[in-house]
Amino acid sequence: MIGINIYLALIAIATLMSFYRVFRGPTTVDRLVAVDIMTTITTGLMVLFALYYRRMIFLDVALVYAVLAFLGVIAFARYLEGGI
């Protein structure tokens, strides 16, 4: 149908669109929410990249990234609540 390159480009554009909120803020939580969404979208991008290169082992990279992104967001959220 449309082809994998187009999808990759579209997802990258969506990531850039959420990057707007990281720049604008205005509060820290706004930026964090945007980062959370960005990491989620990036995980999808990585999975699609694995298909682009036809390497199944790249899926592991996406999973590690998902784990680390989750932990990062949780750490910041707990910090906002007051102390870790």
């Binding site: 149908m1 449309i2 999808y7 579209l10 997802i11 554009i13 969506a14 990531t15 669109m17 959420s18 707007y20 909120r21 509060t27 820290t28 939580v29 706004d30 964090l32 929410v33 945007a34 959370d36 969404i37 989620t40 979208i41 995980t43 999808g44 999975v47 699609l48 694995a50 298909l51 036809r54 199944m56 899926l59 996406a62 999973l63 998902a66 784990v67 989750f70 967001v73 949780i74 910041f76 959220a77 707990r78 910090y79 906002l80 609540e81 007051g82």
Partner: protein, 121 residues
């Protein structure tokens, strides 16, 4: 182009659409709580679509069947963790004192917190 890979590609397209929706929600909504409302849901569903779609698409292209199981693992992980991180973030936002949007109608949480403090004193 067989039916399986067409289904996978369709799912990917579906997911990409929701990714866009989530980014758009992030830009358009007025305050952080509403942004979280719109962005988290559509990003999670979009990920489900893209990731499982990629697995099905790969199998349809004649790659190893393990693609689909592994993509299911990633999808389930995201399905489990994304709401948790959204919950932690919104709780952190509230606790760090960000006010609700001016058009909000009711705030039971503040009442409950006050009640709790009053009970302790």
């Amino acid at each position: 182009m067989n039916a399986v890979s067409a289904l996978g590609e369709l799912l990917v397209l579906f997911g990409v659409f929701f990714y866009f929706l989530s980014a758009l929600g992030l830009i358009r909504m007025p305050d952080v709580y509403n942004r979280m409302q719109t962005a988290t849901k559509s990003a999670t569903l979009g990920s489900l679509g893209v990731i499982i779609g990629t697995g099905i698409w790969a199998v349809g292209k004649g790659l190893y069947w393990g693609w689909i199981t592994k993509s299911i693992v990633i999808a389930v992980f995201i399905l489990l963790t994304n709401p948790i991180s959204a919950h932690a973030l919104i709780r952190g936002a509230y606790k760090s004192g960000i006010p609700l949007w001016k058009g909000s109608v009711v705030d039971r949480y503040r009442e409950a917190l006050k009640e709790k403090e009053g009970g302790e004193e």
